[in-house]
Amino acid sequence: MAKKRIVSTTINGDAVEFLCEPRQTLLEILRDVLEMTGTKEGCGNGNCGSCTVLMNGKPVTSCLVLGVEAEGVELRTIEGVARGSELDEVQQAFLEGAALQCGICTPGFIMQTEALLACNPTPTEEEIRFHLAGNLCRCTGYDKIVRAVQCAAERRAGACHK
């Protein structure tokens, strides 16, 4: 077994160092080393999107990223979405719009939505569906998820106008 490496990274704005075997995925580091279990594993091979986190602002499936690749990057996870005890617009829209049933895919959908709205604040339904197509939800049929994303976009736009 190769020796562990020290990795220095930034997670949700905080400088973080962790010890990492070269074979460990970022998902495993988040969940099992850093005990940040908000990021979920649904498939382990990049097909379901449940483990989506933002790496330098871009969505990645953390099961397909190695822990050592986090060196020097900025990570954002579901634990870093709320502003203190205040939910952000995407979380609030999912909550109020009943856009979750079992909730296991929700962190991944919220992170993917954050990435979408950061680069396209006013997406069409088609753009939302295209952007979220890498995230699987088996409970909702996606209807309320898409509506929640629309709602979050509108609210965020409203906030900007203030």
């Binding site: 075997e21 074979r23 495993e28 969940r31 099992d32 005990e35 940040m36 279990t37 908000g38 990021t39 979920k40 594993e41 649904g42 498939c43 382990g44 091979n45 097909n47 379901c48 449940s50 996870t77 579901i78 634990e79 979405v81 709320a82 939910l87 979380q91 999912f94 909550l95 109020e96 719009g97 009943a98 979750l100 049933q101 079992c102 909730g103 296991i104 895919c105 929700t106 962190p107 919220i110 939302i128 569906r129 295209f130 979220l132 197509a133 890498g134 995230n135 699987l136 939800c137 088996r138 409970c139 909702t140 049929g141 996606y142 209807d143 309320k144 998820i145 898409v146 509506r147």
Partner: protein, 757 residues
């Protein structure tokens, strides 16, 4: 839309934010794989690379010797189950079969069948150790579909299976090993005469593929077998009490020595009732003296859990000139998977359940094949059956030039209709859901353009009652802690709390629901059968009424009068002399009026009234590729009374999209050796949000008289109509009548090419 004038409710019918919502949008909610215990080990499993084989050698010594490995188990480490049937709350189960499914004995019966497990200091060491297990097989020929497995010359999976309900000359055997585990048969009227009198008769054969529930959270169990002999299981499950009993029975320890702690559950759809991992993790914990976490990877989930049966169905229906069904005949063979127990019973009961049919016969077979043991999946057995019946009915409507909604209304089952298997319906809303679709903007709109078509179909599910328990503690601030045993897969904490709040006349936000472990609440059956909002709801109403009664007594003490002078009205108590205390005011004085107030409620009805749904879909078929695009989708369902309309809609929308996946894409692909070749979410292709449009849900409310607020379960019905509705739409779009599922592009292309010849 409501069919009767609704009582005016304060809480029911509103859309409060679910109580567990914030935890679930912030990542704080703890699911099965999220628990971390001091000293916890990680476990991995060895699974069969063959579909059917004898294990001739199994040696775990090298795995045990790997540094960091703490325990290794095989079936030999478990107590013998003998030949016994145990009632597990979901029907009786053959314990030998259940045990052999958890860890194979001398034979493996499907690709992915679990054989051994290792617990180690890290998951990587455990996985490495699994590869060090030495095993040899004598590979046997597999059999993968029901019709082949029923043939006398087929390989036989289980030497102890005989045909229950065998009739001489029929499939299976009463005294020799067979794959035909049971025969089901019922009839009413005289079908010979019925078909002789019929003006139109259509008979078709159908094949449907094996599909998986596809929950996003893999199965998991974290177990501590403590030094005092007590076993604690942290897991996500649809039913803590059945998980407890299955675990205890498999370990042969007293049921009260096992405590199951429900973690949040990431989807189930019927697939998280059976136990796979807890006994294995328990034995690893016993041998290592440490807590052990065992989580399946996605491949294991698809290889070894779930699926709902592939099936062969033949349906023959005859009507008179007006379209009235006068005879119907069905033959169904469902794949049980490796061990007996497919939902052939419900399949047989559901196939003609939407209609009033004077002369009918249904014959069904439960057949073992070399695939994972099948499990419940949302209205188990009913979707396969609806695909057959609802497409045949559309063909008849076409021949008679009847509107598809009208032929369904003409034949709709209603209050008093006798189902072919015997029971008579109480008040049901079958016709109302067809009318809702017929009158919808969707159905009334034109659908222009080439290769486009519209289809409708109806579906049915019984909905069960079963047992639930609720405990409610009144706090001095006038809020209530509500404890329940029903694990919450889709918002039931809230739908139950709402019924409790309605009964007491208090705000839903003042009720704090918790799903608690098996030591902390009375027996509660699984979250399944569309029963939770119905049955645990009744328990919550009973607990609220218990509190009402106690508060009347406390108020009587307060006013120095007798309880018969006090009434509980509108969120407070009123004395016959006009004095009044609100719920909160009285709660604040409880400690001076005799101490704590704890209400309890249970429920135990066997059945609900039954629920129906009718769906309408517009599709466009690409004539070059055979790909089907869903253009528009509307689903109407009788929900009795919608407690929380958002989550009712959510059930309907989610079920419909699962049905769309079943219709168009999803199937287990086995190669000739019986190996599953698509055990990933890339190749087991479930719908993404780019595949589907918005799903319009029409809530029809025909209150169920067996529930105090008229609730009917919602979860299961919506998966039944989609395959048939889409097949009917495809037929209307391009003129080919599909009889296989999934209706994937190659299958549709094949039919289109045949049509061109």
């Amino acid at each position: 839309m409501s069919t009767v004038e609704k009582p005016s409710y304060k809480v029911i019918g509103t859309r409060p934010i679910r109580h567990d919502g914030v935890d679930k949008v912030t990542g704080r909610a703890k699911y099965g794989a999220d628990i971390r215990l001091t000293g916890m080990l990680w476990a991995a499993m060895l699974r069969s690379p063959h579909a059917h084989a004898k294990i001739t050698r199994l040696d775990t010594s090298k795995a045990k010797a790997l540094p960091g490995v703490r325990a290794v188990v095989t079936s030999k480490d478990f107590p013998d189950q003998g030949d016994r049937l145990v009632e597990l709350g979901e029907g009786s189960v053959n314990m030998k079969h259940l045990a052999a499914n958890v860890l194979a004995h001398d034979k493996v019966l499907y690709h992915g069948h679990a054989i051994a497990a290792v617990a180690a200091d890290s998951i990587h060491i455990a996985q490495q150790a699994v590869e060090l297990i030495e095993i040899e097989y004598e590979v046997l020929p597999p059999v993968q579909d029901a019709l082949s497995a029923m043939k006398p010359e087929s390989p036989v999976l289980n030497t102890d299976v005989r045909t229950k309900g065998y009739v001489a000359g029929g499939p299976g055997s009463a005294d020799q090993p067979t794959n035909v585990a049971s025969r089901i048969y019922f009839e009413q009227g005289d079908i010979k005469k019925g078909f002789a009198d019929a003006a139109v008769v259509v008979e078709r054969e159908f094949h449907t593929a094996t599909v998986h529930q596809g929950y996003i959270e893999p199965h998991n169990a974290t177990v501590l077998w403590n030094a005092d002999g007590k076993v604690t299981v942290w897991m996500s499950t649809q039913g803590t009490f059945t998980a407890r009993q299955q675990t205890a029975e498999l370990l042969r320890i007293p049921v009260s020595d096992v405590k199951v702690v429900p973690m949040e559950i990431g989807g189930g759809f019927g697939g998280k009732i059976s136990v796979y991992l807890p006994p294995v993790a328990a034995m690893l914990s016993k041998l290592s003296g440490r807590p052990v976490q065992l989580v399946m990877d996605r491949a294991a989930v698809l290889l070894a859990t779930g699926p709902t049966p592939g099936s062969y169905i033949r349906v023959k229906v005859g009507t008179d000139k007006s379209g009235r069904i006068i005879a119907a005949d069905a033959y169904l063979a469902y794949e049980a998977g490796a061990y007996p127990g497919s939902p052939i019973g419900p399949g047989c009961m559901c196939i003609f359940s939407c209609y009033d049919i004077p002369n009918a016969r249904v014959e069904g077979y439960d057949v073992c094949v070399n695939k994972p043991r099948t499990n419940a999946y949302r209205a188990p057995g009913s979707t396969n059956a609806a695909f057959a019946m609802e497409t045949v009915l559309d063909e008849i409507a076409k021949q008679l030039k009847l509107d598809p909604a009208e032929i369904r209304l003409l034949n709709a089952a209603k209050e008093g209709t006798r189902r072919v298997d015997g029971p008579k319906y109480s008040r049901i809303g079958m016709a109302e859901t067809v009318e809702a679709i017929r009158d919808s903007a969707h159905y009334q709109s034109p659908l222009p353009g080439p290769n486009r078509g519209r289809g409708i179909a109806t579906g049915f599910w019984f909905n069960v009652g079963l047992k639930s328990s609720v405990t409610a503690t009144l706090n001095l601030d006038g809020k209530v802690s509500l404890l329940e045993g029903s694990t919450d897969i889709g918002g039931t904490r809230t739908s139950i709390a709402m019924q409790f709040a309605e009964t007491l006349g208090i705000p839903c936000e003042d009720v704090h629901p918790s799903v608690v472990d098996t030591d902390s609440i009375g027996y509660t059956d699984v979250t399944g059968g569309s029963r939770t909002t119905f049955s645990t709801g009744i328990a919550a109403v009973n607990a609220a009424n218990d509190i009402k009664q106690q508060l009347i007594e406390r108020a009587a003490i307060h006013w120095q009068t007798t309880p018969d002078k006090v009434q509980y009205i509108d969120g407070g108590v009123t004395c016959s002399d006009g004095q009044r205390l609100t719920f909160k005011e009285l709660a604040a004085e409880l400690h001076e009026l005799g101490g704590p107030v704890i209400g309890q409620g249970t429920s135990g009805k066997e059945a609900q009234g039954g629920a129906f749904g009718t769906h309408c879909v517009d599709v466009e078929v690409d004539p070059e590729t055979g790909k089907v695009q869903i253009l528009r989708y509307t689903a109407a369902q009788d929900c009795g009374t919608a407690i929380h309309p958002s989550y009712v809609e959510g059930q309907i929308q989610g079920g419909a999209v699962q049905g769309i996946g079943w219709a168009l894409n999803e199937e287990f692909w086995y190669d000739p050796k019986g190996l599953l070749r698509n055990a990933t979410f890339l190749d087991y292709r479930m719908p993404t949000c780019y595949d589907v449009p918005m799903i319009d849900a029409i809530i029809v409310e025909v209150p169920d008289p067996s529930h105090p607020y008229g609730v009917r379960g919602v979860g299961e019905v919506p998966i039944c109509p989609p395959p048939a509705a889409i097949a009917n739409a495809i037929a209307n779009a391009v003129g080919v009548q599909m009889t296989t599922l999934p209706m994937s592009p190659p299958k549709i292309m094949a039919e289109l090419l045949k049509q061109k010849k």
